[in-house]
Amino acid sequence: MAANANPPPSSPSPSRIDKEQIIGMAEKEMEYKVELFNKLTHTCFNKCVDKRYKETELNMGENSCIDRCVSKYWQVTNLIGQLLGSGRPPM
């Protein structure tokens, strides 16, 4: 490699507008994550926890159910993300 070769032109540093857009997108993504967490929590509670509230602790069955529910919900999220992201035209 030649020591004095010109380095390729670097892309201009992000302008203030680009930075605002990036921060805006980051904020949207954070809001999305919060909403995802909340929906996930409510959905898995409904599916896994006995509403008779016979005690304050979660029993072993409920714990396992919660772990699996979260895992599956996450998989569904990714799956749908893929389907939406493939950019197919809407039917």
Binding site: M30, V34, T56, D67, V70
Partner: protein, 93 residues
């Protein structure tokens, strides 16, 4: 939910770090208030069915306490698992 689940702040320049941190704080406040409301709604719906009196009876009060405790414990557990999945860790079956 803790901040690290939302954004990796350490790599940012100071002014951006402050700005993002403030944003996250506001999200968390809003989220806490929302959680308060939804928890009340849930436990009321699950525990209170009769309106013969103005005050909660012992049974209803116990039910509401258990409902809230259970939901909070559940929420913490979900938070743990969510954080694991968020980081891409493999989880046991």
């Amino acid at each position: 939910m803790d901040k690290s689940m939302l954004a990796d702040l350490d790599s940012l320049p100071e002014e951006d770090k402050v700005r993002m941190s403030t944003m996250i704080d506001q999200l968390q406040i809003r989220d806490s208030l929302r959680m308060y409301n939804s928890l009340v709604e849930r436990c009321f719906t699950d525990c209170v069915d009769t309106f013969r009196r103005k005050t909660l009876d012992k049974q209803e009060e116990t039910c509401v306490r258990r409902c809230a405790e259970k939901f909070l414990k559940h929420s913490m557990r979900v938070g743990m698992r969510f954080a694991e999945l968020n980081q891409g860790a493999a989880t046991p079956d």
